[in-house]
Amino acid sequence: MAAQNESGGNLSAVLSPEEQAGKDRFDAIIAEDSRIEPRDWMPEAYRKSLTRQISQHAHSEIIGMQPEANWITRAPSLKRKAILMAKVQDEAGHGLYLYSAAETLGTPRDVLNEQLLSGRAKYSSIFNYPARSWADMGAIGWLVDGAAIANQVPLCRASYGPYGRAMVRVCKEESFHQRQGFEILLELAQGTEAQKKMAQDAINRFYAPALMMFGPPDGDSPNSKQSMEWRVKRFSNDELRQRFVGMIAEQVKVLGLTLPDPGLHFDEESGKWIHKELDWEELTEVISGNGPVNSQRLERRREAHAEGAWVREAAAAYAAKMARKTEVA
């Protein structure tokens, strides 16, 4: 792979003295587990890989607003409506910090946005599942944001400075999001039979997709090794999945509900949680665009972008006029 060639020895022979000095410094920073900053020399493959990862993360926040925005107008109490609005707004904010972090690597936000709209860029597969019931607001908060936290907490120490710093703030807000999701489910679980059923149904639908958010099993995750060497990723997909499933196995008891995985147990001998086999073909299908609502999610983004074109043009024209006015004055 290109990534390995560039960070390995094959190309070092053709590096200029300046580049060689930059590379030595980069290697030293990585070795001492310190931070790479935007002006530092970095291998092209590092830049490319980080741009891809950070922008995918930003896209996930933006697309991830949709399933929840879907319920703002129907939230069943004014307090829940306020909390949900604040949460979806936080997600737009996360998208903004992350696009800004990605921009420090040299790719402007409109280019990244174009990659999303054209379908070339990926985002988290979980948002291609529909949010059909109010309880899904609970399951998304508890399971989806919970899995996101497990994934993202280690990223607060990612070797790329702007990414790590963005993640610190994102993680703080995500913990509030997970709490509100759990609270929604707790309230439903202690409510009427219909509410309890709604909560269990949401957990049943989101459990497996949430476990798949950590990515394919370690053996099938080609990018992980390089990412770990660069100290972006700190734990393997399976390690993170283990932490997460162990956590929710305990929390679901507080809810008095169940995970749709009767065989789930902690195996003392291996020290691992044994969960059901996940349907990796389903993940592949969803990632390649065939999830329940992939088409709908992208189209909503395209529509908003197209309908807003005249507004952005007006804002740009106004800014240009004001700039000319200042020059003349």
């Binding site: 933006i62 607003m65 949709q66 925005a69 703002i72 107008t73 129907r74 939230a75 069943p76 109490s77 004014l78 307090k79 829940r80 306020a82 609005m85 604040a86 949460k87 979806v88 707004q89 936080d90 737009a92 904010g93 903004l96 109010w134 919970g146 936290i149 907490v153 280690p154 120490r157 703030r169 993680c171 703080k172 807000e173 913990s175 509030f176 997970q178 709490r179 759990f182 309230e187 439903l188 009427t192 219909a194 509410q195 700190r234 390690e239 909503r300 529509e303 908003a304 309908e307 807003g308 074109a309 005249w310 507004v311 952005r312 043009e313 007006a314 804002a315 740009a316 024209a317 106004y318």
Partner: protein
Amino acid sequence: MSAHDIDHSLDSFGDTSASATRVTPGNALRPEDIAIQQTAPGEDVAQYALRLGDDALILAQRLSTWISRGPELEEDIALGNIALDQLGHARSFLSYAALAWDKTEDDLAYFREEEEFTALHIVQQPNGHFGTTIARQLIVSIFQHLLYTRLLDSSDETIAAICAKAVKEVDYHRDHAIQWTLRLGLGTEESAAKMRHALEILWPYVAEMFKDEPLYDALGDAGVRPSTLRAAWDEEITAVLSDAGLEIPKTGSAMSFGRQGEPSEYMGFILAEMQVLARKHPGASW
């Protein structure tokens, strides 16, 4: 980072202070505080709080649908924030009104019929395109800013306290609407034409904002006669529109009586969506 550290980080699960949008302690009167306060308003003040609450609630409901549909990510956040502020004001006013009738904010929001709502027609108008929403915001936020500023001196302490928080937020809404009116009015030919059209279709609902009703005779210093805000509102909006190269439309006034329980045709759809889940599960707690 060790596995232990991850565990530790997940301990913050349960941290209510972690949201960027949290209410800072001691900063403001919260709807929850109003709901448990000992003094209920009299019937007239309750009716007044209901009107202010209904306007804010319906506007919040309308604005909230911009979230994830804005022309820029920044506008998803800005309009979402304005919607959230309006919802906060609505919750405070409705919680206060509800005390008079031994009800809750949710009883009032979710279990009243169309003709029991008292919202002005201007806030019921659809979002339209971004320019329509900005025109509606300009009209309403200048009005609310003038009104809440005067209500800081309301003889009703709760109304004054709610407005003390609300006026600062509405001042920002007004600034947002003015900045966008300038950009759209002076931006491109297309944006100016869209703004002109938006103002024309909304202007018929301006007059209703300033109509006095018998309620104000009974309210005394607790309320503000809306007719007394008109001159200041005219002056302010005329100046903004003039700076933006726009004009006050020559359209007349619609016969709209939202305050008297005659909602627009839109109201049925707004409530059908807003109330559907709560009404499917009467008595349930969320």
